[in-house]
Amino acid sequence: MRSVMAYIAGLLFGLGLAISGMTDPARVLGFLDVAGDWDPTLMFVLGGAVVTNFVGYRLAMRRPNPLFASAFQLPTRRDLDGRLLGGAALFGVGWGLSGYCPGPAFASVSGITLPLAAMLAAMIVGWFIARRV
């Protein structure tokens, strides 16, 4: 049952990425290119997602625990440190170079190309490196 629930969540996420156009790096880069022909699409995507989830989380948290797990697993740290901000900065460079963040990159495998395969392979190498630094 847990797998079915997780599959539905992944499916909704994948449908959202496809319908919103976030599986197109040109849309993402068009949003990031504030000095060019700016494309506001990503703003609607992030806005729609955050507002929906803001309301949704509040409804979910009214329950003492999730429907199919013993407890909500939420990050508890509130401090800012070098790893968080440095990591975010490195991610920002990679995102700006490619227009891919992990979700859209992985969700796009049904339209795989050689550059996308290279991106995904390097991303996995990066995750292994991150565990060692």
Binding site: R2, S3, M5, A6, A9, G10, L11, L12, F13, G14, L15, G16, A18, I19, S20, M22, T23, A26, R27, L29, L32, T41, M43, L46, G48, A49, V50, V51, T52, N53, G56, Y57, L59, P66, L67, L84, L85, G86, G87, A88, A89, L90, F91, G92, V93, W95, G96, S98, G99, P102, G103, F106, A107, S110, P115, M119, A122, G126, W127, A130
Partner: protein, 155 residues
């Protein structure tokens, strides 16, 4: 700037679906819908008893766009190709290797990406996620500016 109403509406609808996905994963399994965490942890740690749901989520994530393609009907939102679902990469293999490495290392040590920090962290009003989102957005904007307008030299 071009405001394309259809593209914006697609963005909003897709965004709401992504928000519903994050809410669904929280209310059913109590987990944050962060792709770098779900996928990265599965691959690098293969946690016993905590891998099945990750695999199922990722299967769903891939089948979303695949179903939209199979359904036809032009529900995608690729820039300049109305209805297409998956856009072309913005660079070649060399660029993507560098970008992929930076995205992997960055989201690994920074504990999240656009989904974990952006969609989920902002909705929780987490100060760490707000700071991370501001940093990766700002750095990505500067990166695109340098690539397109300083090195690339267009406009």
């Amino acid at each position: 700037m071009t405001v394309d109403m259809t593209a914006s509406l697609h963005g909003l609808i897709g965004g709401v679906l992504i928000g519903l996905s994050a809410t669904w994963l929280m209310i059913t399994l109590g987990r944050i819908a962060g792709i770098s965490g779900i996928l990265g942890t599965l691959i690098t740690a293969r946690p016993k008893g905590d891998s099945g749901w990750r695999l199922a989520f990722l299967l769903g994530l891939v089948s979303g766009p695949a179903l939209v393609i199979l359904a036809g009907g032009g529900l995608g939102n690729v820039a300049g190709q109305a209805g297409a679902v998956i856009g072309a990469p913005a660079g070649g293999v060399a660029t993507m290797l560098v970008a992929g490495l930076l995205v992997g290392v960055g989201t690994g040590i920074g504990s999240g990406c656009t989904s974990g920090h952006g969609v989920c962290g902002l909705a929780r009003l987490s100060p760490r996620s707000m700071a991370a989102t501001l940093v990766f957005l700002a750095v990505a904007i500067v990166t695109v500016f340098v690539v397109r307008h300083v090195i690339g030299g267009d406009a």
